[in-house]
Amino acid sequence: MSLPANVINSILPRPTLQDLPQNQSDIDNDIHYLLNWLSPYFPSDLAAQSKQRHNSSHKSTIAPSQRLRSAIRSCLKDDSSQQEFVRLYINSINREFHRFFSTTSLDDFEFMDYYTLIRLVLDYYNGCIAQLHLSRLVKNLFQRNLNALFQTHLIGSHSNSRFLGLLRDYLSSCLVTPLLESPTTHKNSHNPSKTLIDVITTLSSLNMTNEVNYILIRLSIQKIQKYVALNCSRVWDVALLHQISQFIQSEVYSNFSVIVAYSTDSGLADEINNAYLYELIKIAYDELVSLRIKEIFELVVSFPSSRIALDELYQCLLIKYNHDHYNDRSHHDISQTHNLINDVTNLTSFENLANYSLKTQSYQRSKLVETFIDLSHSHLLHSGSNTIDVITTYTKTINSFLIIDPKGVLLDKVVRPIRRYLKTREDIIIKLVHGLLDENDEAKLGLARELRATKRNKSTYTSESTNIEDGLDLHWIPDPIDALPDFKKGKVSDIIESLISIFDSKDIFIDEFTKLFGEKLLQLHNYDVSEIEEHLDLLKTRFGKGEFTMLDIMIRDIQESKIINEILPTGSSNPRFHSSILSHLYWTSLESKELRVPELIQNKFDDYNSKFSKLKRGRNLKFVPNLGLVKLNLKFKNRTMYFEVSPDKAAVISLFDEEENELSVDSIANKLNMSQYDVSKCLSFWVGENVLLELTRTLYIINDDEEDIPFEETGNSIPSISAASTESVGNKEHELIVLWPHLNTILENITSLSFERIKSLLKLTVPKEKMDLTTLKDSQLEDFLDWLVDENKILLSAGTYKLKR
C-alpha cells in the first residue's frame, strides 16, 4: 500500500521547479522565462514517438534567444544556484518519469522501441542542458542523477526487468555470427553493427555497462557450453583443445571484445581483452573437463582409442592446477591485470567471469574419482560381469588414469574398489595365470605381452624397485595433497605387478602355475621343454628365481628322461617303447589309474624297468599306465587307419585284435581293470571313429565292411522292431519268421555277415521270451535264411548274407 504523494512530500520534501515562488521581480521573470522554456519537463507523447522511431529534434536545434540567454545567465550565476536549480530540476524530472512509467504500458515495446525512448529522452534533456551552460561539475551531477533515474525505472529489480530481458535477446541475436565479418556476408539484412555500437555507447553513457557486460558474459558462457556439448561429447579421437580455443577466439571472443571496446575506457582495453580471453578459454576447458568427468567410465573402457581425450583431460587439469596456484609466470601477469582491472574500473562483471568457475582443480579431481568409482560399481563390479572383463577394465583403468595423472594418485584411489572386488572372484587366479601364459591372447588381456616386455625392461624394473628411502632422498617432494595416507610412490605403472599385488602372497599364483605347467608337461610327448622353459624364465623374472623349485624339478625330469631313453637299448623296436620318468613327490597333478595294458606292452615295460635299474643303481620304476600316448595302426580288410590315442583307448581297442566277436562293456572293464564308465567313454570314441559298432547299449563289434559304405548313425542303440518289416515278408510264413525283424536290424547295421555270425548275433539280440535259440539247430536257421533269399529279402554271396536293397 503506497502512501499518497502529499504525505511523502511532507516527510521528504522534494521541491520542484513548480515550487519556485511566483514573484513579480525581474529575477522571477527570468525564472519564469526559463521555466517556460524548459517545460514540458518531459518529452511529450514519448511512447508513440518511440514506437515510430522518431528522432528527436527539439529545443536543441533552435538557437536560444537573447532573452533566454540573459535569463539563464541571471538565474544560474554561480555554482550554488546552479546546483540548487539542478536539484529541483531533477526532482521535477523524477516526478515526470514516475508519472510516465507508472501510467504508460510498455508491454508491447520491443527492444528498439526502448532504445528509441532512451535516445529521445536523452536528447531532450541534453538539448536543454546544453543551453544552460552549466559548470562541468553540475553537469556531471545532472548526468548521474538522470542515469540513476533510468536505472531505477528501466532495470528496477533485475529479476523481472523486461528491459534487461529484451536487451539480452537483442545482444544474443547480434552475436549469432561474428560481428567483424564484412556486412556483405552477413546473413541479417539490416546491418546491426552500427546500431549495436550506438546501443552500447548509449547504454554505457547511462552507466549500464555492468549490466551489458553481465549479459554478455552469460551469453558467451552459454555459447561455450553449447559448443562443447555439441562438438566434444563422445569425440575422443581428435585433439579438441586447439579447436576450442579457435572457436572462442573467432566466435565468442571477437564479439566480446568489440562490445567491451565500446563499453570501457580504451586505455585498459587491451589488457582487459586479454584477461577476458583467458578467462573464456578457461571456462571452455572447465566445461570440457565436466563433460569428460561424466564420460570417464566409457573413456576408460574405450582405451586406447580414447587416448587423445585422456591426454587432453590431463592437460586441462594441469592448466587448472597452474592457474589455481599461480605457479606459471605468464599467469602472474594475468593476476596483476585482474587486480588492476578491479581497482581502476571496478568492473564487477569481470569478477563474475573470473569467479564463474568455482571448481578448483582439486574439486575436479575428486569429482572425477567419485564419478568413476560410482560408475564402476554399477557397471562392472557385480556378479553379472565376466572376470575377464573386469581384469581387462582394470588394466585399462591403469593405463588411462596414468595418462590423466602420471603421479598415480588418482589411479591409486580409483583402483582400490576394483582390486577389492577382484579378490572375491573365485576364478581370478586361474584367469590371470592363463592370461599371463596365453600366447595368442585369446582373452585379450595383453598380459602375455606385458610379461614378455618385462624381460626387455628388466633393467629399468630393478632400478625402480630400489627406491631411495624418502628420508634419504635429497630431491624429495611431498605427495600431492589429495593422495591417500598409504599411497606408495613409484610402483604404479607395472600392470602385472599391480595385478599380482592384489593378493597377499605370491604363493597362490605359483601354485596355480605349477599346476598348469604340470598338466602341460604330462601332455608332452616329444620331451621338448623349451617352450615351457621360456615361459618359466619370464615368470622367474617376475616372481623370483627360487620360487619355482617344483617346476624346475619337473622340467629336469623330462629332460633326463629324454637322455635316458636315448641311452637305454630299445631291444626289438616294434613297437617302440619309451617312458617319461618322473620324481613322484614333485608331480602333484599326477593321477594314477588302474589299467591293464596289453601283455606285449607290459613285457616291454618290465624289460625297460630292468634296464633302468641297471643304469641307475638302486632305483626302479613304477608304471603309470593311464598316462602317455600310443600310436597304432588298425588294419581292416580293405583299409588301414592310423591313430594316436591315450593308453586306455589303446588298451580297449587292443582287445578287439583278431577278435571277430562282440564284446560287452562288462567284460572289457573286467579284463582291463577299468571302471565301466571309463570303458564306455573309450568305446564311444572308437564308435565315433567308425572303428567299432554299437550293437546295443552294452555290445560292441568291429565295423568291418567289405564295401566302403559310410556309416549311418543309429541314434537309438536298442534295435527297434519295425512293424512294417513283418508285413513285407511273403505269404507263406516261415516258422522262424519272428526272427526276421532282428535279423533285418542286424544286417542294416552290419551289411554283410557270415552264417556263424548271424547265428551268434541272433542268439544275443533275440529275447528269450520270444524264442529260445539255444535249441535252434543249424539246419533250421539255414533253412530260414534260404527262405529269406527266396523271398528276396536277403542275398547270399561268397558265404555272406546281405540285405537285398
Binding site: H578, S580, L585, L590, G628, N633, E658
Partner: protein, 132 residues
Amino acid sequence: MKVEIVEWHAFSTWHWDIPGTGYEDELCGICRVSFDGTCPNCKYPGDGCPIVLGLGCSHNFHLHCIMKWLEQDTSKGLCPMCRQIFLFKEGTFGAEDGKKLQRLVDGHKATRERGPNESDQEFEAFDGQQVE
C-alpha cells in the same frame, strides 16, 4: 581287424629300491623327509641326492644326512636309529661318495679299536673346550 601298436610313450615314476613294505612312506630318520625326495641340502632328487642302505641294521638314510651324522665324533659311527655300528650296502651311489662314506665308517672303526681311554675320567666343567 588287426591292432598294430607302433609306439607306446609311457609314464613312470622312479623310486629308490628299498627292501621292506610300504617303502613309499618311509622317511629318512635324520631329516624326516621321504627317501624319494631330497635331503635339505639338495634341490634335485635322484642321482644327485642318493640314499644309503644300512647293512647290519636295515636303517636307511640320505647319503648327505648320514654323512653329516658320521662326520660328528659324537656319532661314534653308530646308526642314529638303533645305535648299532653302522655299515652300508654298496650300489646306490657313485664311487667317490662311496669312498668318502667308507672313510668315515673306517674312521669310527679305528676309534673303537683303539679302545676306551677316557670314560673313567671324572668330568670337569670347561669353558667352551671339548677334549677328545
